[in-house]
Amino acid sequence: MAVSDTATMGTPSCTDPVALHEWYPISALVEITPGLVHRTQLLGGAISYTRTPGGSRPVVWPSGGEASGAEVDGLAVDHQLPVRVKFGYVWTTLGRPEHELFDIAECDEADRRIQNGGSIMVATSAPRAIENFLDMGHFPYVHTGILGAEPRTEVLEYDVEVTDEEILATRCLFFQPQAALSASDGQMTEYVYRVPHPYCVMLYKSVPTDASRMDVIALFCQPMTEERVRAHNFLCMVDAVNSDTALKRFQQLIFGQDKPILENQSPRRLPLDPRAETPIRADKSSISYRRWLSAKGLTYAVIPATAPSPTPAPTPAPTRSS
């Protein structure tokens, strides 16, 4: 299972063109020390990155023998990979994407607080992390008392629109308790979910102090391997009260509750065959997401719907009679 995790050199193990020709986040820009080597993994291959000394230009390349933390002159690096800086993250690709990265209009508003709420490694596939982010049904059980609380567990019908470019789920309503107050003082909260990239998802939630505006929280997934992901929690909030640290800490609390669940899911790759698991009406957005990935022909980090059932390996006899 962990075979593909051992890549140390810059050869990706991924051969899926859909996954290769896509942009991926690898780090928050501010977390890169200029002049030093940082290493990570993308699609099974090792990549290194840095910022040019004194400057802010990020440089990304397939890892050679350089050690993490070593000094490096970014300007002198050969074989640089394409780079974009967007939403405060450095994005790169191992292929040649014909499209640019998606936009988030709210990021252009002057009073937005934009930051990385944490880049967290999870032992699961990127699509499992996306699907968890799209899912309201787990709020009362995984984010008990914060995003949901028993007995108000109903997922009301919501709308899902699917285009080639993205999935949009609207009118998503869920009961949210007030922290530390009697649960009956909670209220219905409305969410909008958007999936503009196979491994990126965002939610819009109205700002408590200004109903006309929406906070944006996103999960940008860096598929390190098929079964390991670095999830970058992106925050774009209208909040004049809480400190950056408080917003970050809240996001990390929420994600920290999801992580053990994600790591206890099997199989880790997302099965695209609708019969591999048991969807219910509440899973409408996940049903759409799986079909959307299938339609794109994506095979990386998923178990494609058309795949024949895994052929049992020649099972070694567990015991032998004498």
Binding site: T153, N264, E277, T278, P279, R281, T315, P318, T319
Partner: protein
Amino acid sequence: MEPDPSTSWYPVARSDDLPLRHVFQGELLGRELAIWRADDGFVNVWENRCLHRGVRLSIGLNEGRELRCQYHGWRYANRTAGCTYIPAHPADAPARVICNVTFPAVERYGLVWTCDSPGGVAPGDGPPVLAALEAAAPLGLRNLPVNAEPSTVLDELAAYAFVPTGLLAQRTAHDRPVAGSATLGTEELGAEVSVTDRGHSWIELTARMGEAASRVVLFVQPVDSARSVVRGVLAGGADGADGADGAGVHSPERDQMAVLRHHHRELSRLRDAIEDRAARRPSPVPMTPRLQQVRLRPAESALEHDRRDGGRRTGLRVSVARRWDTADAIVAFELRQLDGLLPTPRPGAHIDVELPNGLVRQYSLVNGPGETDRYLIGVKREPASRGGSACLHDTVIVGDVLAISEPRNNFPLRRDSFRTILIAGGIGITPLLSMAQALHWSGHTYELHYFAQSAGHVAFTEILDSLGPDVTTHLGLDPSGTGSVLTRLLSDPEDGGHVYVCGPGPMLDATRNTATTAGWPDHAVHFEYFTNATEIDSSSSFEVELARSALTLPVPAGSSIMDVLRANGVAVASSCEQGACGTCLTAVIAGEPDHQDVYLNASERRAGDRMAICVSRSRSPRLVLDI
């Protein structure tokens, strides 16, 4: 010949790995298992994967009667692993097909045994029965994980050397060190060890030293192609009563400790040697157990109303295991399936019972959560009985076999409100008792009000007692007394609260009217009629057009739509045929139905898009039905 792993039994846990309300994670042949003991003692061995979104059930909650998944709170029943509740859709009963993969389980020699045979059907004769371990209380040794192929481990265990139990015990009793120290082996002690029996996954060894002898059986659990667990059981326990060793009298606990320590040390030494040799061989390919596909259904229909499966089917055979008088004129029957498992009952469900006299009657199940090895019903002798209740009361005795239907649920229980009021009148207590138990055991708040003529008319008191203070009985009230209690109970309609009522017609009407007057919305008041007391008007005649069957049929006065359809060879599902059960609800495409049922609520009646074709008729000269 290699044994077929799907019919071979292997130990996967110790009985004491399953303490109260715990879920143990086991593994067999590359497959993870969630193993848990329900409060009734039953040991469940399930695939360790929630079939909703694949989360390990071993991180779920053992609530004693049901296992709850951590991710979305789906509940699975003890024994059957059938899903009983999907919190995201509180109004719907989960489809019957939603059922986890189960494996058979047997406890023997302090171990939990199973085999790789999904579906829970126990093959063959069960785990091995070994004469050595049958004799006296055997002692379980500490289990020992070994990183090596199970077949090799079994072969190498033949070299296991140990000292007979009696000698170990004697030595501790006299405070002399056992076998000196870890450096002194059994060879030095001169024990003679031989393989005295073996099976495809176990080996029995006997150690002799002078007069003393003891036997150990070592079972090999094949965890994966390169991982095993050795589970040893010592015949005769720590006092060595198994062999001819004639040990003296000493402290049993100290003996036991000494014996366990000795075996653990010797087995660990052997393990190290086995692992050393295994590490020098190429490691075998890991096993890939077949994951069970979810039963075939279109994805979107995982949730459905049970009644769609309706119809008059009494395909299950049960025998009457027990019958007793539970109250004045009420007999309780406990029904058990002749073989295999009964379908999982859910709160509010009923079954059709085919009586010896040919009549079919519906009875609500009284079962609490996790009570999956039997169906419990309560039957009241109706003075005006057409022969149903009288037949059960007078002729059905213990040992009789009855044909019943699978449980159907027209009265599903929501569990998402802060306030749930259950109101029962007389024998109407039965569905509400299953609801009350479900709410009670899953920690939801609720109140059950039971209206009965007298204390002697209160049925199932043992269940009521187990529920405690959430139950109130109201005895001997006349209609106006009942009315004022109902007014009080329902005076404070709560947003998101729900009322469930079952009982005689007049009481039902009173409850529904009181609730409406108090301001409870229709959708918050759930009811089940036992018999439809409304006078049925079948005097009008009209025409039905069957859109999908391209048939137009006249419905004369005195015949129901259902009668006419059946007479013309159109199969329609039905159950009560009194407009009470909802089984025959049919979509109306055009025309104005004349509702005569008691199933639909006011807003559903106004909508006019569904009708109960067993009793309802037409206001318009023509009705177009989606059949």
